[in-house]
Symmetry: C2
Amino acid sequence: MRQTALAAIQFSCSWDREENVATADRLVRQAARAGANVVLTPELFETPYFCAVQNRAFMDLARPIGQHPTIEHFARLAAELGVVIPVSVFERAGTALFNSVVVLDADGKAVGHYRKSHIPQAPGYEEKYYFSPGDTGFKPIDTAYGRLGIAVCWDQWFPEAARSLVLRGADFLLYPTAIGSEPGQPHVDSMEHWRIVMRGHAGANMVPVVAANRIGAETTEGVKMTFYGSSFIADHLGALVAGADRSTEQVIVGSFDLDVCREYREGWGCFRDRRPDLYGALATLDGRSRSDAA
Amino acid sequence: MRQTALAAIQFSCSWDREENVATADRLVRQAARAGANVVLTPELFETPYFCAVQNRAFMDLARPIGQHPTIEHFARLAAELGVVIPVSVFERAGTALFNSVVVLDADGKAVGHYRKSHIPQAPGYEEKYYFSPGDTGFKPIDTAYGRLGIAVCWDQWFPEAARSLVLRGADFLLYPTAIGSEPGQPHVDSMEHWRIVMRGHAGANMVPVVAANRIGAETTEGVKMTFYGSSFIADHLGALVAGADRSTEQVIVGSFDLDVCREYREGWGCFRDRRPDLYGALATLDGRSRSDAA
């Protein structure tokens, strides 16, 4: 039996970095008091979602992982509370900028580092302007509370990412997120679509899934966006076990026996019956595998 | 605009093959009257689900595709009604047996043939005893009413199959199915899990999905199974647009503009942003891609 409690925190983010860190600190503590062993923060919570626009100046927000006061703050908090905290940060690595997550183990040590692989580009989500596509790949990260499968926001739309993480032994999937209205498509509300895709990852891979989103309205250089919260936790069958609303600062927690999930996964037989010999299309962008005769 | 109405029929199956064909015929006609352009039958509807047990004699139920009265029957019906009918059959091909689907176009011509790729094995679902894993791969089939992405039952648990079909141009996904109680795990009711995984495929790939399941209790050589129906149609965002109940003979229909779905898919950008360079794990059974350093 490996009972593990996973939590997501959701809140709104201002241009006051210290205030955002203080809010996250307060909500992580609240999650820990509720029994959480792993507490997920929203994506890039140190600032408003600056990717709403393309502005060179925002590149100066990025910091090297090893000299990052926010990471240091949450490392101390992780050790104090004995919880695992994946922290989403804007990473500068030499000339490259990444949308990254540093995983802080329950003793405060940084045990892993993931760079967002799939980078969106659409009005209001101008991420290709800022971030290089991540080069770390999908590798679970071992912690005191299980093997974390971590990916970031837009990655959540790609079944390949979820599958790869679970194939490599992830016990559960975590998605720090910043999603809301679509400035380019004002009639679109993707919330239910967003949830069902990740609940599908949970069910297809038979692992719990946690998504932490921000809330609130932000206006960046005239671009107004409303983040829809709705952070949630799904179990290994894809059922919703906890869900936040669209606009309230919230902490949600779901507890799972990771051994029961693993036994269910093995008993069901889907991983046994995979057919890599038929998956050539997945290794291409156009679906035409190189071994195709036609 | 390419408005296409997709239907699923669900019914119970007896040991009287002619009766099962007559039932399917009647329900296909009902679906056509309701405006359906494509009508999906349940898996292996000519007989009870004989895979409940391992019995050599049931192998004699398989027939070559070219000499198959049920296929001939539905070819005539497809031409008469002007609808596309994918027919699920037990195929004999020389010494090999497959769990197959033959797609009959709206003029009655057989335009494609798919052999189930992922073969389950569990108490009550003894398919590895009967069927060789299919060798056709995941290739959409062109018809008068769109490019069909067809896969069969257990295939529905594999995101790789759905993704491959859509990467290769499928407009929608169809899953003939036979699923219900688990003789080896009497406490398991997989219905919601089953639906959420396929709704996830719909949402992640942004195509409509149809699943047609059988209903009814069947006892085969002492093994009792109850098939849970719940055939459904999901839209390209994974929302449920039609759902049958667990025990009633039913026809369900959902209508989609396939061009609107395609435009949404392209506009959303997920296919643009795929990272085949990071998907090496998917080409393996153990998640260890050959290019992994560690």
